[in-house]
């Protein structure tokens, strides 16, 4: 296609604009990475931009030796692994019957579940219910109250409905019951959609925050995000450490920068893999809305 001069100018302008904006997406992280490897004096005198000044590993040594942080990391890994598994299991178990024509209650149950996307319970009754169930101050309060995402369930159901029905007949002739049909045939064919919702769930669990704020009073059970928040908001959590150690190779500025990077690294590592699936998922879900 031939472009006019005006269009060429626009193209150039557009490229520059997009590149500049896109770099603002990553620049803050790179800046904080640089701060986390800089000396506290350099960090506080505003000398650090994208390259560390007075390079030091002191901040990271301190962070990586922080048991409280690792404990929170462990909680988050646990809820991410166990939570993602349980969420996917129950999402699939719910979506499968709802995709079957022979399941008589398919329509009313589907309606009841989809309605919860519009009519959301207010925070307080939800909080009181979870407390009544006895999940207060339990690690399971981070998993069970949000076990099934209706959005993800609808994605899986739509996918199941588009699987050709010839397979069912073949399976039935082989004497397959519905459990085997689901786990041995349907799930094998649904790997892309399972990867998509698995990643949605995993990112959700990794970023778990609100449920922890609501249900966990015991700091030993706090997930990573909650621990980060405590680091950011109470200067004592970090400043006190400074004094005990008598070490001035790091301060709250560099520590905060390093904890932000610490919490972001796992996401950045899985990101290329993540990207392969999420775009598809975002579109799949939206079509049904």
């Amino acid at each position: 296609m031939k472009l006019s001069i005006g269009e060429k100018v626009f193209q150039a302008f557009n490229y520059i604009l997009l590149i500049v904006l896109a770099s603002t997406m990553i620049a803050p992280l790179l800046h904080l990475l640089a701060v986390s490897f800089s000396s506290p004096i350099a960090a506080d005198t505003k000398e650090v931009f994208l390259i560390p000044v007075d390079f030091t590993l002191a901040t990271w040594k301190h962070i990586l030796q922080n048991e409280v942080l690792w404990r929170a990391f462990g909680v988050t890994v646990f809820i991410t692994v166990v939570g993602t598994f349980l969420s996917m299991l129950f999402t699939v178990l719910t979506a499968f019957p709802l995709s079957r024509k022979e399941f008589m209650l398919r329509k009313p149950i589907m309606l009841i579940m989809v309605l919860t996307m519009i009519f959301n319970a207010p925070m307080i009754p939800f909080f009181l219910t979870v407390r009544e169930v006895g999940l207060m101050d339990s690690i399971w309060s981070l998993i069970i109250p949000g076990l099934i995402s209706t959005f993800n369930m609808v994605i899986v159901r739509t996918f199941f409905m588009n699987i050709p029905k010839d397979l069912d007949d073949a399976a039935r002739i082989d004497g397959c019951n519905e459990f085997r049909l689901l786990f041995q045939i349907y799930l094998q064919l649904s790997k892309p959609v399972l990867a998509t919702i698995g990643l949605f769930y995993a990112v959700g669990y990794w970023n778990t925050f609100k449920t922890a704020v609501l249900f966990l009073r015991n700091p030993d059970l706090w997930p990573l995000q909650m621990r980060l928040r405590a680091f950011f908001t109470s200067e004592e959590e970090m400043a006190a450490v400074d004094l005990i150690m008598g070490d001035f190779d790091f301060n709250t500025t560099t520590l905060k920068a390093a904890t932000i990077i610490f919490a972001t690294i796992p996401i950045v590592i899985v990101y290329p893999y993540l990207q392969k699936y999420f775009v598809k998922g975002a579109v799949l879900g939206s079509l049904k809305e």
């Binding site: 997009l18 519009i118 319970a121 980060l228 950011f232 579109v283």
Partner: protein, 317 residues
């Protein structure tokens, strides 16, 4: 009378027939019923019981007496709210931030998607998109931490200000900047993610429309204005309606992680207030009333805008 009895009998037998069919269906496909059972229990316990639990908005709920034992007070909680200074402030903050988000944050991904659509170099497009999607996957705790660090006294924004000879500003502690920071950080985190759905809609547009337009002498700009945008309108409308239904639900995580006591007067919103007054201080009935109020407003707005959208045949229902 006779006819009524007949209808009744018919209804009864129809019901009978239906329940017979259901029993048969359950017997034959019991595996399916077993599969969905945990899901049903989940939705009842964690979705519908809390929804029904909203009735405590009409009670003076006492934790030890439960819903059954607490006295009913009618609309007292709602009347109390209307005369309550704190609530006015919180409501004003919520509505203003919601409005700013609607004006600035909602159109941002549409514009960005149109700009993406003009990029001809595939590798550049992919790279730029990857960068734009990244912040969506960061938690608000992390993004809040980033915002506080960048805008701190020793942060990079003030470093840049100093290079140009300006005095540093404590952005996060000043009321004047709070709402702007909320909107900009919201755009930063979600604008890229928001483009996905619009890009999908743009891809679905029939290329022959553009070819015809080119023959008619339309340049790229005119093609965007007269073809792409109008064909995006249904998608925009649906997303707008979904947005307006949650108008007052700004998202607890974002505000909670940006708010400090210094900025309560401009940034304390319904959700953060409900958390403090309800979860922390135990004013369960009053805060549930606020929650219900929020839902009713959202639903009313959805209803109104859906009616407007239906006039151009693009409503949700």
């Amino acid at each position: 009378m006779e006819e009524q009895a007949k209808v009744l009998a018919q209804n009864k037998s129809r019901k009978q027939l239906l329940s017979n069919r259901l029993v048969k269906n359950i017997r034959k496909h019991w595996v399916l019923y077993l599969m969905i059972l945990p899901g049903i229990i989940y939705y009842i316990v964690f979705k519908y019981i809390p929804l029904l639990g909203s009735v405590i908005a009409f009670q003076d709920y006492q934790i030890f007496n439960g819903i059954a034992g607490s006295p009913w007070v009618g609309l007292d909680n709602f009347i109390h709210l209307l005369n309550y200074e704190d609530f006015h402030e919180v409501l004003r903050n919520t509505a203003l931030i919601a409005l700013y988000q609607l004006i600035f944050q909602f159109p941002a991904p549409i514009i960005l998607a149109l700009l993406f659509n003009e990029v001809r170099i595939l590798i550049l497009k992919k790279t730029v998109q990857s960068l734009f999607y990244l912040p969506h996957f960061l938690s608000w705790v992390v993004v809040g931490g980033i915002v506080f660090e960048l805008l701190a006294n020793q942060g990079i924004v003030n470093a840049i200000r100093e290079m140009f000879g300006y005095a540093p500003i404590l952005f996060m502690q000043e009321e004047a900047y709070f709402r702007t920071i909320v909107v900009i950080s919201g755009i930063w985190k979600e604008v890229g993610w928001g483009t996905i759905i619009y890009l999908a809609a743009i891809t679905a547009i029939n290329p022959s429309l553009y070819e015809a337009a080119v023959i008619d002498g339309a340049n790229r700009f005119k093609q965007t204005i007269y073809i792409t945008l109008p064909l995006l309108l249904p998608t925009i409308t649906v997303l707008f309606l979904l947005n307006i239904g949650n108008f007052l639900e700004l998202g607890f995580d974002q505000i909670f992680n940006l708010l400090t006591p210094m900025t309560y007067s401009v940034g304390d919103i319904i959700e953060t207030y409900v958390y403090r007054a309800g979860v922390l201080q135990g004013q369960y009935s009053l805060t549930t009333a606020i929650g219900l109020f929020q839902s009713v407003i959202g639903f009313a707005l959805l209803w109104i805008f859906n009616r407007l959208a239906r006039k151009s045949e693009q409503g949700l229902w």
